[in-house]
Subunit: 337 residues, 2 copies
Amino acid sequence: KAIFRQIYLTLKAELLEDPAFDFTDDARQWIDKMLDYNVPGGKLNRGISVIDSYKLLKGTELSDNEVFLACVLGWCIEWLQAYFLVLDDIMDNSHTRRGQLCWFRVEKVGLIAANDGIILRNHISRILKRHFREKPYYVDLLDLFNEVEFQTASGQMLDLITTHEGEQDLSKYTMPVYRRIVQYKTAYYSFYLPVACALLMSGENLDNFVDVKNILVAMGTYFQVQDDYLDCFGDPEVIGKIGTDIEDFKCSWLVVQALELGNESQKKILTENYGKSDPACVAKVKSIYKDLDLQNVFFEYERLSYEQLISSIEAQPSKPLQDVLKSFLHKIYKRQK
Amino acid sequence: KAIFRQIYLTLKAELLEDPAFDFTDDARQWIDKMLDYNVPGGKLNRGISVIDSYKLLKGTELSDNEVFLACVLGWCIEWLQAYFLVLDDIMDNSHTRRGQLCWFRVEKVGLIAANDGIILRNHISRILKRHFREKPYYVDLLDLFNEVEFQTASGQMLDLITTHEGEQDLSKYTMPVYRRIVQYKTAYYSFYLPVACALLMSGENLDNFVDVKNILVAMGTYFQVQDDYLDCFGDPEVIGKIGTDIEDFKCSWLVVQALELGNESQKKILTENYGKSDPACVAKVKSIYKDLDLQNVFFEYERLSYEQLISSIEAQPSKPLQDVLKSFLHKIYKRQK
Ligand SMILES: [Mg+2]
Ligand SMILES: [Mg+2]
Ligand SMILES: [Mg+2]
Ligand SMILES: [Mg+2]
Ligand SMILES: [Mg+2]
Ligand SMILES: [Mg+2]
């Protein structure tokens, strides 16, 4: 929404005048451009969900200041995301992101992008210090962002050493490996972090919300499975891009399922054709997905996940928290994009 | 010393069993190897100076637990250094570091090193949380490491956009630019951070030590000027490497001085020959340094810096703090390596 976007400009202006660094004009311009290029261009779902969650938890209308602070935390999550994406694109040697060239491929940027990623991370600390230093939950906020960052970086490591190390080897792609990567690399920061921020703002102690964390991590996993499903079976017109997980040798839920369900001859075909850019190879992989009826395997997985999530949510004692969790779930259930 | 080194092993063992991440065997081995390769191989000056400073501040003998905690903070600084160096080597496309191949050049590592750098940074948060969470100064410790990291990353950015961006352009190398890069990129984390850690352990509020910070940052700047001087005029046998700042187009104190002191024809020769690997070009640059008598310019700078530092130190009200600052100064004054 417009208020949320507006606050990006406030935060950027503060960062460009941060007294902890003696900016040159060049440095200020660099950061300005780097932020505009990398931070606000996403869907902003993660950031905005902090405000939505906090509203539901609080029950009553939020004051202007409460809205502002929730937006600030929302932007911190968007900054965190930008930091991970800038570095991930370097490590994956990607070409485009959010419909534009990856930052490190922009003229004159190159590997300076790695330091820009670091700067993005550091901006979060600067923003938190400026706006939350006097709050009783400041130290918990720092611990939360630190822990979630550690988990995401650990998930990223797992992904990198499983996917990139040595030659392509499909035998490493098993369900436990898949779940672990997704849980750490995506679920904590995308699903748990926004709700945890809202809980801290509400004065809660996160130690009392381990179940909530587990539910959100499960939801994040389900979300990534959808992402993998849509990459192959979604409508490119709707999702806005053409999937290339097969060509990219991605550890996708689909290939993991195919390896689990396929017979020896199907696994052999997968091994020979997965991760090749040749359309004939991609077609062979897709025809195995079809033979194994992975679309219906996915629908069944989706149905089961939904059921389990709803029943865990309804086992939660707090009604407002149930509403938060259900609102997350209904935003993603049966999504087409 | 031996106790300090021993504690590295304790910290590593804790990190490899961190319950915040569900390690695979591969992941544990990767981190183990990555830490051994990058963390303990330096001179450990920064880390050990935390313990020395804390001893001087405290006055009395330290308990075993106090020694342990000071060593832990010392190691956090070494971890921070490792993090910066791993990423700096990627961005500078360097070949060797501390007498071995840069981490990103090691077989099977490549750009995974960028994420390893992130992991190193995150280990600091994990270590601080484990060992200092209950201390009254925990939040100040987090703020300190965050602020110093931000300043270092900002200095690195300044260095990158001044040195790497576009073609080689010596006109950007001025004294204010030089000082700013050095202050942020090196001085805060190498000189201020160890003392600030010791002050926090002693129960002090860092807001009351702005002068101390300024003295240490000035000392860090002086230290880098020495480094630049020794790169050209030091004895390679003593410093253990052959300097290549001229070849590498480094923003060195020497070239900045030469540009300030040289006449138009000398500046022209510098512009034409600086940053070339051809030994004839390097020789021309060195002969200008000689014509401008930069060795004596440096000796005069060194004398003046020492005088100013001593007088600022002696203006400090606290005797133990004076001792800390003098011990730093005497470790580096007139160093040959
Ligand atoms: Mg990627
Ligand atoms: Mg990746
Ligand atoms: Mg995808
Ligand atoms: Mg370097
Ligand atoms: Mg560098
Ligand atoms: Mg040097």
